[in-house]
Symmetry: C2
Subunit: 422 residues, 2 copies
C-alpha cells in the first residue's frame, strides 16, 4: 500500500523501478546472469564513451579546486572500467540467494511451511563521487533480484549517466525490464525525496562518510542500513604475545588507513611489559600517537616525540589517518567499558593468549565483528568469502557486518495446505 | 557511540536498561529460565496486588466513558493473570536463540569465521491498553537476552506498574540485573523520547493499531519493526474447488474479525461459476459485502441486500469487522495488480487447483506470507510452531511475518586467528 508522497524529482524513475522490480523478482538466475555478463561486455566495448563523460566530470571538478584524493576516486581509465566489468562477471559465479529456503517444516496439521528468500524490491543507494559504486551497486542489486535507484554525487553525474546508459541498454537487450537500473538526478533535494519515498523504495543504503550516513539515518522514513563508520579498537591483554600484538596492531592501524575497518584506538592492559616497544614500533611506522597520561609519561621517559596528549575527542574520532589514540587500562572490564562508550560497533580486536580473557571479550563486546588474535582489517566481505559486498553494516537490525547478496533479500513464508481452516 | 539525546522522561530508565543489557547478554540460559519461572510464580502469588491496581485503572477508564471492548482488554482477573504467568512458563521450554551459530566456516587462510546470535540490547515496546502485553513482551525480551523498555497506555499505567514491580522484584531475586524490565512514564512525550533515543535503545516494536504504527514509523530515529497492519486478500482462481473456496473464504473473514490476519477483500476470477453461492454464504454468515459493479449486479439479480457498492476506500480499508470487499478480476495478473496496489504485505491467500496459477501467485505476491489453499488466519507465530510471538512484521527489513525469539536477536561475526594480518 503506497503512501501518497510527492516525488517531483525521482517519481518517474521510482515508478519505473517498482514496475521493473515486479518482473525482476520472478526472473530465473540464468537470465540475470546473462544480463550481468552482457553488461560487463558492454562496459568494456563502450569504454571510450564512459571515459569521455568521465573526463568532463574530472575537468569540472579540478577547475572547482577539488582535492587530489577526491579527483583520484572520481577518475576512470580503461583499467578501472575493465575492473568494474570484471566485478560484474564475478557476480555471475556467485549463488543466487533468491528462492533459497531458509527454513521449512511440515506442521502437525499437515500445512507445509517454507520461509523463502525473495528480493526486497527497489533498493536505493546514496553514495559519493566514486563511479565504481554505480556499477558495483547495480550488479549486486540485480543479481539479488532488486531494481536499483542510484543517487551518486553531482560531481560524477556525467560519468554515472554514461555508465547507467550502458548498463541499462545491455541489460534490456539481455531480457531485463526497463527501470531495472535508474540513475536519480543529483539535485540536493533528490536525496530527501528518496528518504521519504515510503512505498516506492524498500531499502536505502548509504555508502560514504559519517556525515552522509548520519543525514540518511536522521531523515529516512524508509528502511535504511547504516554502513561504514568504524571507530575500531585493538585491546592488548596482559597475556598477549609481544610479536603477535605488534604485528596485529601495526596491521590494523597502518595497512590502509582510509577504510572503516582500520583501527583507531589501542587499549593496552597495564601489565603488558612491552608497551614501550609497541609504541616505538608505531612511531617508527609513522603513526602519531594520542596518549592518555600513562602513555604520555612513558613517551617522555623514552624521549618519543610521536605522542601528544589525548582528549575525549580522540577516543571518539575515526581518524582515517596515521593517527592512533592509546590508553592504558587497569583490566579487561575497563577495556570493555571504553569500547562500549566510544566504539561504533564495527570491529573490535583482542590480542591475548588467555582463553578466559578471550571469552570475556567476545561475550562482552557488542559489535558487528570481534576479532581474536587477528587484524581488524579482516572484517570485509571479500575476506569473509562472500565474494562481493555492498558495504559493512554497523546496525543491529537485519544485517550486521559485511553485506553480501543474501543480505539484499527479504523472505516470504509460503504456507501450502489442502483446504486448511482454523 | 551514544548520540547526545536529552531524555528527561525516560533517560534514567534507559540508562538502567543499557547497564542491564550488558549483563543480560552474557547470562546463561538456565539463569534466564529460572528468572522467568520465578516471575511466573510471583505473578500468581501476588495476583491480588495486581488486580487491586487493575481495578483502579478499570474504574477510572469506565468513568471516562471508555467503550466496553476496550475495558474488556484492560480488565484482568485471576484467570487472566494465571494465563500470562503460564505464557512465561512456556517461554522456559523454548530454545534460547542467543549463542546459536548461524553460519560458520574455516577460511582459506585458516581464520575461523562464526556468525553468532547475540541479543539486540535494549528493546522498546510501545503498546495500547492491554496489560497482558506487559508480561508477554518482558518475557520475550528477557528470554532473548534483551532489556525491555515498556511504554504502555496511560489508562493501564497502574496495572502495568504493579506487573513490572512483580516481574522486576522476582527477576532480581533470581539473578537478573536491575533495569532488565523498566516501565516508562505514560506521558504523551515519552513515546517521542523513546523514538529519538539513538544509542539508548536498539529496537522499538509498536504493538497496536495502524495510527500507532504510522506514528512510530514516521517519527522514529531508532530502528523499528512495523507490525500488524493487515489488509489481506483471498484470491479464488478459476481452478478452485467450490467447497474449499467457501470454507477458506469464510474462515479467513469470519473466524476472528478483529485481528490482522483476517481477510478484508475477496478477489474472484470471472470464470468462477460458484460466485453467487459464495456471496450467499458470506451474507448468511452476517458479512456485509462491498462489491464492484459486477458483484452489485449479481446481487441485484439474486435479490441480496448484503451488498453495497465498493469504492477505492473499500479496497484500502482494513475493516477488522464483518465487512468484506469483493471484486471480480479478469485473470490472475489482475488479481496480483490489485494486491500490489492495495495490499499491506501481510498475508495473501490463493484457492486454486492449477499448479501454474499457484506458482504465478506465489512468485508474484510480495507479502510476509502467501497461503496456498489455506486460510489467512494461519499467519501466526503459534500456528507456525514458534511457540511465542511479539507481533507480525509487515516490513521487509530484518524480519517478515511472525516475530519469534530468534527475530529478537542480532548477530556478531567472531573471527578467530593466531596472529593473522593482511
Amino acid at each position: 500500500m503506497s503512501d501518497a508522497v510527492d516525488l517531483p524529482l525521482i517519481g518517474a524513475a521510482a515508478r519505473r523501478a517498482r514496475a521493473a522490480s515486479r518482473v525482476l523478482r520472478t526472473l530465473p538466475t540464468d537470465v540475470k546472469d546473462a544480463a550481468l555478463s552482457a553488461m560487463a561486455d558492454a562496459l568494456v566495448e563502450r569504454t571510450d564513451e564512459v571515459l569521455a563523460a568521465n573526463a568532463l566530470d574530472v575537468d569540472a571538478a579540478a577547475a572547482d579546486g577539488t582535492p587530489a584524493s577526491v579527483l583520484d576516486r572520481l577518475r576512470l581509465d580503461a583499467g578501472r572500467v575493465a575492473g568494474v566489468a570484471a566485478a560484474l562477471r564475478e557476480l555471475v559465479a556467485l549463488p543466487d540467494p533468491v528462492g533459497d529456503v531458509v527454513r521449512g517444516s511440515r506442521l502437525p496439521n499437515g500445512l507445509e511451511l517454507r520461509q523463502v528468500r525473495v528480493p526486497f524490491g527497489v533498493i536505493g543507494i546514496v553514495y559519493e563521487a566514486r563511479p565504481n559504486v554505480t556499477v558495483d551497486a547495480a550488479g549486486l542489486c540485480l543479481k539479488s533480484g532488486n531494481a536499483a535507484l542510484l543517487r551518486g554525487s553531482a560531481s560524477a553525474y556525467r560519468t554515472n549517466a554514461a555508465l547507467v546508459a550502458v548498463l541499462a541498454e545491455a541489460g534490456q537487450k539481455a531480457g531485463l525490464p526497463e527501470g531495472s537500473v535508474e540513475l536519480l538526478p543529483a539535485d540536493r533535494a533528490s536525496v530527501g525525496e528518496l528518504l521519504s519515498a515510503r512505498g516506492h523504495v524498500d531499502l536505502v543504503i548509504p555508502r560514504g562518510g559519517a556525515s552522509l550516513i548520519q543525514r540518511v539515518v536522521r531523515e529516512a522514513q524508509v528502511p535504511v542500513i547504516e554502513t561504514g563508520v568504524g571507530n575500531c579498537h585493538v585491546y592488548v591483554d596482559a597475556s598477549a604475545d609481544a610479536a603477535m600484538a605488534e604485528a596485529i596492531v601495526l596491521n590494523s592501524k597502518t595497512h590502509r588507513v582510509s577504510v572503516c575497518n582500520s583501527a583507531e584506538t589501542l587499549l593496552v592492559h597495564r601489565d603488558v611489559p612491552f608497551l614501550p616497544r609497541l609504541l616505538a614500533a608505531l612511531a617508527d611506522a609513522g603513526v602519531t600517537l594520542h596518549g592518555d597520561p600513562a602513555v604520555v609519561e612513558m613517551a617522555a621517559r623514552a624521549a618519543h616525540d610521536a605522542v601528544v596528549p589525548a582528549t575525549d575527542e580522540d577516543w571518539a574520532t575515526e581518524y582515517l589517518s596515521m593517527d592512533m589514540a592509546v590508553r592504558v587500562v587497569d583490566d579487561l572490564p575497563q577495556a570493555l567499558e571504553h569500547i562500549a562508550r566510544w566504539g561504533s560497533g564495527h570491529s573490535e580486536a583482542i590480542v591475548a593468549d588467555s582463553a578466559s580473557a578471550i571469552a570475556a571479550f567476545t561475550a562482552g563486546v557488542d559489535a558487528a565483528a570481534v576479532l581474536v588474535n587477528a587484524s581488524t582489517r579482516f572484517t570485509d566481505g571479500g575476506e569473509f568469502g562472500f565474494g562481493a559486498e555492498i558495504g559493512i553494516s554497523t546496525q543491529k537490525l537485519h544485517a550486521r557486518g559485511p553485506l553480501g547478496l543474501p543480505e539484499l533479500t527479504s523472505t516470504t513464508y509460503v504456507v501450502t495446505g489442502s483446504g486448511h481452516t482454523r
